[in-house]
Subunit: 447 residues, 2 copies
Amino acid sequence: MSQDSQFHLNAFLMGVGHHEAAWRHPRTEAHRVLDVAHFQELGRIAERGKLDSVFFADGLAVGPRIKHNTQAIFEPVTLLSAIAVATEHVGLIATASTSYSDPYTLARKFTSLDHISSGRAGWNIVTSAGADEAANFGVDGIPAHSGRYERAEEFVDVTLALWDSWEDGAVVLDPETGVFADPGKVHTIDHDGPRFRIKGPLNSPRSAQGRPLLVQAGSSESGKEFAARYAEAVFTAQRTLEQGQEFYRDLKARVVKHGRNAGDLKVLPGIVPFIADTEEEAKALEQSFTDLISPEYSLRQLSTMLGVDLTKHSLDAPLPPLPPLDEIQGNKSRYQLVKDLAADGSLTVRQLIGLLGGGRGHRTFAGTPEQVADELQTWFEQGAADGFNIMPPYLPGGLDDFVDRVVPILQQRGLFRTEYTATTLRGHYGLADVDNRFAGVVDEASA
Amino acid sequence: MSQDSQFHLNAFLMGVGHHEAAWRHPRTEAHRVLDVAHFQELGRIAERGKLDSVFFADGLAVGPRIKHNTQAIFEPVTLLSAIAVATEHVGLIATASTSYSDPYTLARKFTSLDHISSGRAGWNIVTSAGADEAANFGVDGIPAHSGRYERAEEFVDVTLALWDSWEDGAVVLDPETGVFADPGKVHTIDHDGPRFRIKGPLNSPRSAQGRPLLVQAGSSESGKEFAARYAEAVFTAQRTLEQGQEFYRDLKARVVKHGRNAGDLKVLPGIVPFIADTEEEAKALEQSFTDLISPEYSLRQLSTMLGVDLTKHSLDAPLPPLPPLDEIQGNKSRYQLVKDLAADGSLTVRQLIGLLGGGRGHRTFAGTPEQVADELQTWFEQGAADGFNIMPPYLPGGLDDFVDRVVPILQQRGLFRTEYTATTLRGHYGLADVDNRFAGVVDEASA
């Protein structure tokens, strides 16, 4: 069981819903994928439910998704900035890749969101695995898995240093003396590493929460080590309670091995909830989405996920044999998950696509509000979760239902906050203040 | 005289005002430099005045400004996103550098702002000249002037191609057939140049105005050629009507030489207006700001501007001899402007600092609302401007005064719009729709 008595909730938002056919379903209005007001509304709904945060994923290529998929229209930090000014409490997490950006630019972008939101920004750290993304940044083929993580580590180290480059209290703003900032509290970082040389300081002061929350979602061996070292929240796809418990134990042990407290990292498994008055209605609702899946799109999506071309494969035959894990340079954990699902050879490709349609490998759950609450409570109390990554299959309705029907039950059971008690995203997740490595350091340049 | 009967107005916004001592003056509240609501208010004031656009500059280093200067807290595109959702009409222009970013990332960021604002985004294209900025991106010393512009040209070419990679109408959004986008209208760009290799397409559809407005502010020889080729609006520092006319004639001739219409580029000289009921009061107001200048800060600022260390120089002696223009790798036009001001040797450094304090080389003008309006009308009618870059010395008051006291006079004289007649930023500036190079092209990959 978690150390905490209450758990955490993040709303993972995507277009008009996570289900890949969401935009075709009568419960959504497809055109809202292009409407910033839709996303502001989602932020306000999450805030009505006292959720810790909302989250937008991102990618740096269109990939195989052009024809049938609605994602990736807004760059998430610019989108979250528009949501920040329409909300007051909810945290704002965005994916950004360490593979194709500069630490100075990324640090600045997230600090800017952190200032705009008064300390509610979070960074989901990803490395970019795809050949499609590489081709938009002058790189041929698929970048090697290990090199991506080596770059990511140096990238995060230097980004953290930039976020420390202004101490708390560096901004003096004294009109009388004409002093804007105390140069003794603004530091160069003088980083000189294998991939980055950066002098600093960052051109923006420290934010209200010290620095943005660090989030991570890789579940490969390198991904888990990376998370254990840096992450404060982890999004993960776990399909059974046992798998969730094993992942939770494993990751917490790694966190402790890295000299951190187990509670310094919150494990948030994903769940795609279909909610209705009865279990039967919930399952029928899920089926109504599955029925709208476009096999052509799904085969391309699955091919990309596995790194195996399935676009000519029969929908009604089992999955062909897959290459061994160590040949995979892309998303290893998602690859393993699909391989496990298809292991006994009983699933046709069509059935597999149906299973993956809700949340691309994340667990779907169809039930009553009580059943959803029970499921979350069980995972939390049985040591599989510090909270959950809620992935509404359709939006805004699926988020409305979770907030208005499931959250009150969780609150009645004492499992979730009834009011915000902190003002920052780090505060919502119950994380300690961040020390600043430069606090009190006198460096020559600024003396 | 301009071809148009009305001119254009951009509000160049910076902290609590352009005057370097603005934040020390009783007409401002210094802490608002950190307050996003302040900047949203400025956007709404500009919109109340029916201004074409607001603009935020940017830099990628703290530079010599830490102690006495209040700039560069927010990254401008994230800031404009927050302003976009607080306004309906006014254009939103941000600086971004071609020196230290990737075209794919920059194209996406501005397209995202363009979607969030329904077609009101503009990009002020800059190259980064400073050693301080270079040191934050692994580059030693000051990048050569010519190399910066060569990179900028390829950068803009490929960014324009990315913005064309989705045709108008590519987004189908048909729930019945399950088609989100028409792959025949989404194109790879397959750019393979000396500095960038980018496949495309961009991961965001074409915006309501086709693509963001292109703005430029370099006035060096390379800068003017670059502007003549690409820019649709140019911000420029011109201190006298004659200099303004010469710049205007020169730039328009270059535009025509590049095969464009003279009207395809709008010339917007900067002006820092001190507005009061009488000329005497306006001049006293300006003096009250000059009196608050911190010489220590200004000497560092001037040293950076000139690339000459003046921090040990006496404030009451004339400027020392300056190196020839062709040795300058930084902002050549600003260098020449200061050199011209100091040419006859009669100005002390302190006097020079006072002259530059309002707008860092841009023209300051102190007078009544009628005198400010007269001045703008003269420049417009005498062939020195298609509009103006209004740089309020203090904010929000200085923008309030311009909007509430000068704009009505301009409207009465028929020189400025009384209502918005267009819905996009390109529309406000009277620019034609943008052709799409890929319209109707059938490429194999997507067929």
